[in-house]
Structure formats: structure tokens, C-alpha cells
Amino acid sequence: MSTAVPEFDPQEIALHPEDYFRRQLVWQLPVRITHWVNAACLIVLFLTGLYISHPLLAPSGEAVRHFVMGRVRQIHFVAAMIFTVSFLARIYWFWMGNAYSRSGFPYVWRPEWWKDLFRQGTDYLRLERGHAHLGHNSLGGVAYTLFVIFLGWCQIFTGMAMYSESNPGGFLNRVFGWVLPLLGGSFTTRMWHHAFAWGFVVFAILHVYIILYDSTQYGNGLITSIISGYKFYQKGDFKED
């Protein structure tokens, strides 16, 4: 086993490239679209959220000429609505998409899932190339489930509950209002919404690093795959190969 991409004889590859490298459509269009919509929304949400919690650079002059906080909140809410739709669309695609759209999900009752989790964890730590995947591995599955699905729901529920406060008794308030008493009131809901927001920062750091690492380690074109949809694999990566 080697740590880097295995090297093959260039002449042989030139003769029969398809024996050595293949590509496979892994991320279908909805996965790619929701990925970038979610990523863009999360960045906007985090930055506007920080401004909302700690507004800076007060404009001078009469209040009537300015709408800084108002505008930032408006952007936060628009991004939040787009995020919610895209998030739900991705969840829908979890069932409707190809097998890769479900890959890695913590099916904790399946021993194979645990085996893959252990194997992937140790491969990353031992800096080995190890076992290749086309979809998400179990470790990725855990990360997406905790940092994206779980935190996503937390933000949507706490966020929508706070958003609904400006129209008590309205539709959103009836749907999400129960979150406020559950978390001990409007104030603590805000506190949790703010705390959860940091989870996405932790996720983004780990996510982008592991994508870069994985892509170099396996030579699988992971980085471009989330734009094109195709991942690459090579001789010896899969048993059926």
C-alpha cells in the first residue's frame, strides 16, 4: 500500500486507458446544486448572523436615512428561507437520488457501517490510501449527519421560531412557536441559535480540509466532482474492477 496515488506504467496506460482509469457520475445535478446553494447560504447566514449579534460601524445622521441592521437582517432571513428550501430538497433527494446520495448515512444497526467508520478513521490517521469510496464514507456520513442535518434542523427550528415572533399568532408562529418555551424562552433560544452557528464554522474547516486531503490522497477528482458530478477511480480501487 502506498500513501500517494499509485503509479502505473505510462505506456500501458496510453494503450488501454480505460483499463486503468474510469470515471463515474456520483453527484447528480440536485446534489451539486443544493451543495453550492447551501454552502453560499451558510456563509451569508453566518456573517450576517454575527453582524446581527454584534452590530458595528454605526452610520451617523438621522435614523430615517439608514437601514443597516434592517437590511442585514433581511439578507439573513432571505438566505435562511433559501437555505431551508435547498436543505429540504437535499433531504428529498436522499431518497429519490442514486445510491451515492444515501452513502455513508449512519445506519447504526448495520455492522458494515461501523466497519467502514473504523477503517476510514484509521486510514485518515495512518495517512494511508486504504480503501476507496465513490460515495461518502461512514466518517463523512457522521460528519454530514451531525454538522449539517442535525445542526441544520436546529437552526431552522430556532431561527424560524425567532422569526415568527414579529407576527405572534401568525402561521410561522403556530408552526414553530413551541420551540421558544421548549428552550426556556426567547432569550435562550437566541443563545442556542448563536451557539449552533459556530458548528458550521467547525464543519467548514474540517470539510474543506478533508476534501483537499482526500482528493490528493486518492487522486479521485473529489474537488471538481462537486461541480461536474464525476469522480475518478483507478485499477485496483474496487474488487469488481
Binding site: 500500500m1 502506498s2 435614523a63 439608514h66 434592517g70 405572534p168 426556556g184 432569550f187 464554522v201 483507478q234
Partner: protein, 367 residues
Amino acid sequence: MGSLLRKATTYDVLREHGIDRRRFVKFCTMMAAAMGLEATVVPQIVEALETKPRLPVIWLHGLECTCCSESFIRSSHPIAQDVILNMISLDYDDTLMAAAGFQAEENRKRIMKDYAGQYVLAVEGNAPTADGGVYCTVGGETFLSILQETAENAKAVIAWGSCASNGCVQAAKPNPTGAKPVHKLISHKAIVNVPGCPPIAEVMTGVLTYILTFGALPELDRYGRPKMFYGQRIHDKCYRRSFFDAGQFVESWDDDGAKKGWCLYKMGCRGPTTYNSCPTFKWNNGVSYPIGSGHGCIGCSEENFWDNGPFYERLTSIPVPGIESTPNEIGTVAAGAAMVGVGLHFISSMARRATQKKEEAPDKEGR
């Protein structure tokens, strides 16, 4: 104070106290407005106060500071003071009644018997539950048992103030006496929570007028508070809101923004998370309210407002035992830890690659 046995109406008692009809109708109109009801309801209120016997009320005091009573008897409107004190037949109130000792307790027992199912139990303060409730006793009985006994035959229970509604300071962490708000001690009774430390006098009167007029509790929200008074946040009715939307905030007490009356959000104002009527009724004869005087709202009518401190900061600490940090502190530490982990992994993978390049031994067959 009028006796129960006469079954006098509010109007009777008011006339006795020299309040003319004109002032009485004015009061009814004011109450309708305060409750957010249409003008057509005014005659209904007038009729109720004229014809219905006064509401028999037992007013209990538990662990508390009496600020609710103080607020109530200082009811702001010029004519309200007399009206309010005479509107209900307050035959038992530890603080206000003439009777004392055994006679007083006798009184309470008598009302409970004679007016079973008709009297309203108004509770100011809450009951400590630790060690059998010994931390608050009245006449040798624990307040906990008095509360439960008196609630038994009450028509409805009014929880006055934050103490009775959601615990207030005596239930703040670590709550050594195990103080609990009324709704956690009494079940199977209609309870209306009227939080605030203290609640606004007009709100207290409004709740009583509503019960007397319509013979039912007003519509309540998820926290059991009357929607008509607690339906909206301070923030949504605040006159400094335009500065909030503009992004103009007071940064420190006495800075330029403070002088210009900018928004107090960054000074920890709890207006965005507090439901109360302060911007509408204001305090002390409608003179002002905290935000009007340049101080942020501290959220006195919200659950756990003492634990959600410090009052002058926007975010409180995460309520996880052993951690005394704000979300931002925890967030930056977590993000920093992620960066360090990623960095270590990166450095070791580069080192690994460098040593392997030297060995010059790539595996020709893949694996």
C-alpha cells in the same frame, strides 16, 4: 372594606366612596381600551360592574417582595385608584386586610366555604418546596399547603407577577429553597399568569375587569399569559426601534449615541426577547418606562430572567454545568481546535510524503 355578605356590586361600592357615574363610565371605557376591545364592549363592562356582585378574591402572599401589591395600589389612572381597590371584594389579603391572627385565617376558611367554586385565588409570590416547604410558613402552616388548599375550590387562579408566574429571583439558580411557580404546584385549575416584576397596574386591573365582565379568563398564550397584554415584544413596540433598524446603537453609557437616544441593543436590552406592555402603558402614571429613561429592558416578565444575565450583555453563558463561557467563546475555541487538528494532520501528511519520496518506492501495482 365592604363585606361579602352584602353582595354589593362594584358600582354600589364606588358610589359609596363618592365616585360619580361619569368617572365610573370613564373608567370602564379606559379598561375596554386597555384590553384592546371595541367601544361596543364598554356597555357590557358597565353592566357587569353595575349588576354582578363583586368578585370575591382571596389574595395570598408567599415568597415575594410585595412589589405586585405596591404596583396594584399605585394604579396610575387618576380615577383608577379608588375603583381598583373597590372593584374586587378583597376579604383576605395578608398585606391589606384589617383582620389579623386567628381571625384572619378564619376569614379565609369562611370564604373558601361560602364561596366555593366562585372565588378567585390571587397568588403573589411562590412556594418553596424543599424540605417539605418549611422555608415559608404562615400561621404555622407551610405556604405550599395553604396554596394547594385554597386553590382546591377556587374558580380560577391568578398568578401575579414573575414570582408566581415563573419563579423570579427566589427560583433563580441555585434555588436553595426549591421555589416553584404556581402552575407547577397546582393542576386541574384555570391559571392565568401575569408576569412582570412587578406587573403593570393597568394590566392587573385589566385582567380583573375581564374576569368580572366576561366571567371567564382572557385568551392565553403558550405561557398562560393574557394575549391582550403579553402578545407582543417590547422590541416591536419600542420607540427606539428606528435606531435599531438603522444600525445606530449606544456603545457605552453616556456616549454620543446615548445622548441622541439610540437603540440600547448593545447595552443588553432584552426588548427583543421580552413580552410585556411597557411601551404601551408605561409606568408611574404613564410617565416613562426603562427604555424611555435610557436603560435597557431587563426582561423582568420573562422566565429565568435572573439566570439570563448579565443584564448589560446581549448573550449569556451556555447553561451547561462546568462551563462558564458565552457561545462566542465556545465557538472560537471549537473552531480553533478544528484548525489545530487540521493543521497537525496536514503537517504529518506532508512529512510522510517527504520521507516516502526519498525512499523512492512507489507500489507499481496499486494495491
